[in-house]
Amino acid sequence: MQMKEVRDPVHGFIYLNETEMKIVNTPVFQRLRYIRQLAFTHMVYPGAEHSRFAHSMGVMEFATRMFDTLMMKDMAKKKNWSEAHVKRNRQLLRLAALLHDTGHAPFSHASEDLLHGVKHEEISRRFILSDPIRSLINEFKKELGITAQDVASFFSAKNIEPDIVLLKEIFAGEIDADKLDYLYRDSLFTGVHYGRFDYQRLIQSLCLIEDPGGAGNLVIAIEHGGLHALEAMVLARYFMFTQVYFHKIRRAYDRHLLEFLKTYVGKYPSALNEYMKWDDNVVFSLLRKNVKNDQARRILTRDPFVQAFTTPEHIDEEERTRFSWLQETLRRELRNAKVFCDAAEGSPHKFEKIGTYVLSPSTGTPRLVQNESGIIRSLRKIEQYRVFTPKETKQEVHDFCTQFWKDHAAGAVSAAAVN
């Protein structure tokens, strides 16, 4: 089968076979050229104009490299896969990785709330099961026994096929092709270098082990030599979260966009042929036509709400409760100031602990990465809350929130009670 090569800034070249190219050339996949990977992040980091199009091919490339590495380390033997079985599963994984984001709404996660209560993965599943993608995938049926239904199973919570459970881990697990590509690609395009890490070392150190719980499941782990590359990836996620994904201005734009779309669109169409018509360009046209709308004006004239108050990046339950109290009080006491609150938990990208196993250098026995790495052990999930307001009311809201936060701190409240 003839291969087509595509230049890519992360991978150098990405190679696609004839049928994969036909899939890339469908309107369903071409639409991804017009959906920015990071929504309005380009308003903060001008280089962040990259799209879901290149990312999707990048995930396919990373998934393939991960699969091939695991194959070199006896995955086929451990899974009792024949040569034909290996070929089938490799192609199946490539297709799922390539198509995983086809269901994304305009501006990626920023407008996902308009999807009738489903996630974009469900829309991807529907595209896979519909023509033209369905018929193109079925071209693999004769040679490899792959059907569109097999690929769609990756995106169904009801999948019970064992091979797909394992393959899915390669592109949507603890250390997966999706994360590797978006971290590296987002870092490259934003110019935020914190996101880069030695992904080649990390992939090279992947291995398949029997889980140490004794149940005999095969799980993906890391050889000890890859520990520092894994630490670098975890830190890259941490920094990319704080510097890019949860950036205060980017979050304000996301909010303005969502509010605008709720008013002017309500929900995206359910019918795939209608949904297909929605991309970033269509939304931009709509914003321009409605520039008198306050949300549209704020986006188009670069006048977003600004951050007036933030909690620390890591808070406890007392502080979380205090913030809820602040939120209620703010709305009651400062009625003339427009505000909105934002929480890290509401961000589509989340930073949290991972539970991967790392093989001990001396005995080869697997241990949780938390036991092997002081850096990873010490990291906590980010739980940050913020208050945004127009720049005209920033000082007033800032002063109110800061005073409230100080007056109602756990120690301050008990001291006041004693006095």
Binding site: D316, E317, G346
Partner: protein, 171 residues
Amino acid sequence: MRNDLRVAVIVALVRNAQTRLGKTQVQKLVYFAQDSGIPLNYEYEIYHYGPYSFELSHDLGSLDSLGIVNVASEPSGYGFDISVGRFSEKFKLETKYQKRVDKVLEQFGLNSAAQLEVKATIHFVHSVIKSKIPAVKVKAEVVQKVLALKPRYTEEFVRGCYAGLEEAHWI
């Protein structure tokens, strides 16, 4: 927006569990709590150790960070040890939900991680295929699918777990 019912159920399970809980046990106990009728709306899919919710995993990370539960790696380095945190006290369940949590703990609280893994997997597979094939074939098909997903468990063990679920009217 945090779902406080979810938090209260997790805290109740961790607080009242008869044995030490790891992440796998919490995942499966919440799975059965949801199946018992508590509207938690977690989406479960089959992962390493049977039904697993990524959202629940995120929630456990948050609750650990906030001090509502503690998630520590156990000394052996193989798993996690989950206990209630210093801010867990304020989370109480309504009686109707507490009764369901109690029932889940009564049924599954003393099960090993392996038993929970297999029982939850049986239950999940059963729910996926029961409407697709004739009733008389369901048990054999479920056992076969579970053995394909969990090849290291013996058929005897899987059938024993299946029988346990049937006796307790869980399937």
